[in-house]
């Protein structure tokens, strides 16, 4: 099972390279199933066409249009394999039958029929499968959301009980931090699904988060590696097999965060629902939520959200929460960053949070909000300190030493 992203099939030369790699794998005695994305730039070209017609295009029709990107790719990859002397057959979402729900543009896979793929493999062919796309019960074409080809790859690997799902991309693997920020960031050779999930949700763009969920749920080992060389990449595997049980596996930072604080509002029952219902209805995703300083029945409620949604969220609160607070009580702040350290080792090591606060304090970086999970600690800080914080944490937790 190999999955290739858009840059890996970005032009005819690269498509030929993909074909050669598939055939090399086949010659080693493996059955080869390859999942491909649209050629890089193609999805955006198609979206731009649609946007010329409508600001809010029908998601059903948008899926019909953008799914053609992968359709062209699978045809070309199959032709390239033929040209290199191999046998291959392309399969679209509705031909494999990758059954999804009907949530166009963000569909979830319900079931994958492995028979069409199996019969291609039995004939000695390489099965070339369109990523990102599926079909619902009524035969409508659906897509899985941006980066959905990763999810297709892992889900198909699970359905086929494949030995491994190799995700070929334009980076060498998963790093302890963004190498552009931290020059001595180190490639991680093994990482657990849980850690990868936290890293993915914290902005590391190597793997789509749902693909990691699938891998974890069905126990598919995922190997993230570069399509431009033969180096080993990063294996994403069950926790017991993740050998590097260090305290912290990686450091990430998100950007363009903002926060809203409702000051001194009445601490009545159900107040949180009153605040967050209008935001959810408007599709605004709220991240860290902190409630504090209860005094005389009054409380401060603070939450973070993407900066792009800030103005809209503020307007909604002013309009719909007038009974809770005046506009003056709603304070908005932007240019924030969420810096996080992730590691399954935290479960057994006390003091990771303390160490994180000490490192940030040493650099005089003020922490505005804190959020923790079992294997992650996040601090919301002023965005201008984000890179400094990542470097200091990477050094402080000795991540360059492995």
């Amino acid at each position: 099972m190999q999955k290739y992203g858009g840059t890996s099939v970005g032009n005819i030369e690269r498509i030929r390279a993909v074909a050669r790699r598939c055939l090399a794998t086949q010659r080693q005695g493996h059955d080869v199933v390859v999942i491909v994305s649209a050629m890089s730039g193609e999805t955006n070209r198609l979206l731009a066409l649609a946007k010329q017609l409508s600001e809010l295009p029908s998601e059903r029709e948008l899926d019909v249009i953008v799914s053609t990107g992968e359709q062209v790719s699978v045809g070309l990859v199959a032709l390239a394999i033929h040209a290199e002397g191999g046998e291959a057959v392309s399969l679209l979402g509705h031909q494999v039958r990758i059954l999804t729900d009907s949530a166009f543009s963000r569909a979830r896979i319900k079931e994958i029929d492995a028979r069409a793929i199996g019969s291609a493999l039995k004939d000695g062919k390489i099965a070339v499968i369109a990523g990102f796309q599926g079909v619902d019960e009524s035969g409508n074409i659906t897509t899985l959301g941006r980066g959905g080809s990763d999810t297709s790859g892992v889900a198909i690997a699970a359905a086929l009980k494949a030995d491994v799902c190799e995700i070929y991309t334009d980076v060498d693997g998963v790093y302890t931090a963004d190498p552009n920020v931290v020059p001595n960031a180190r490639k991680v050779s093994r990482i657990s699904y849980e850690e990868m999930l936290e890293l993915a949700s914290l902005g590391a763009k190597v793997l789509q988060i749902r693909s990691v969920e699938f891998g974890m749920k069905f126990g598919v080992p995922i190997h993230v590696r570069s399509s431009f060389n033969d180096n080993e990449g990063t294996w994403v595997v069950p926790e017991e097999k993740a050998m590097e049980s260090v305290m912290v596996s990686g450091v990430t930072a998100t950007r363009d965060e903002s926060k809203i604080t409702l000051h001194g509002i009445s601490d009545q029952a159900g107040i949180q629902a009153m605040v967050f219902r209008p935001l959810a209805a408007a599709g605004i995703v709220v991240d860290v939520i902190v409630q504090a300083y209860v005094q005389n029945g009054r409380t401060n409620l603070t939450f973070t959200l993407p900066a792009a949604d800030l103005a809209r969220a503020r307007d909604l609160l002013i309009k719909q929460c007038g009974h809770l607070c005046t506009p003056d009580q709603i304070k908005a702040e932007t240019n924030l960053s969420k810096v996080s350290v992730v590691g399954v080792g935290m479960r057994s090591h006390a003091g990771v949070a303390l160490k994180m606060f000490e490192i940030l304090a040493r650099e005089n970086i003020g922490v505005q909000l804190i959020s923790t999970s079992e294997i992650k600690i996040s601090c919301v800080i002023d965005e201008k300190y984000a890179e400094l914080a990542v470097r200091a944490l990477h050094d402080g937790f000795d991540l360059d030493k492995g």
Copy 2:
């Protein structure tokens, strides 16, 4: 039922115009089904991508790739209809279920399921259907060959028992001759299927020939008209309804014809099969065949073929018909044109052939070969006289007078 060609959906502005026309038709109280081609240039762009990988690409994969052109078009037309305030749903070949045989790149329609279209219409929606594509019994994507969207349109109109199949194109209708050659050529308001079939097979490129066959077989009136204005075009209808029962309906000329004559070969039984079997096996289409001058058991066999196939055909005959004739006996000639007059009126009017020969003789145009059908007379002449012949015949048969 409206079908739009590639130039009619060639850019976003034209797609909007298509949407407005569909909605105008719907407001007149009609159920509207629209068949669309790929945006002009798109099919060639996709073919060029494939050709970079392989000189002789797999036709199955080619169909997967090129069918995306229509897929993008239907999505965009549906979005355009939404943007104009209408309701529409796109349907691909496998979603309608346009069942074809498995002859990739030139598939023939076997059956059309009208249910998905019917249910869209029942919901008050405009059904926007991808032309040119279908699906075989195994779920493989097929295409119907160049111009196949016309065939899709007429076949779907037949399946739905539509009142009319309107074919929107970049010309105003069917003319008595090519207006570029004959300035006073006249638009024909009604023409019979039989005449249209002859015209289509003689090089008039307004309609794909198989679409006319479908129209005839199922009695679907076809209205060929321009997508750039509201003028009435040409109605292609059963013969009894074709009001203009003139002797001749149109004049056409094909170009780039060539001919081969086998001189003085033995007139033994089965000789024609011996000559044409190797050509058919090589996919060379032979057109007019004339056999003459039988003397002492010797005969001359002459036939025409596209100039592009001439050299290959000559080589094949030399190699495989050595027992029939020497290379010296095989004469090839090129730069020929086949000029034809077509009209159902010929059936009841004697002397059309004579009149044609007289008109050509008056212009000193030598006729090399003659071929006739019930409603058509063709003369093979020197190509340099083709335009002169068309003009002379158009005038001689008073086609400008209607």
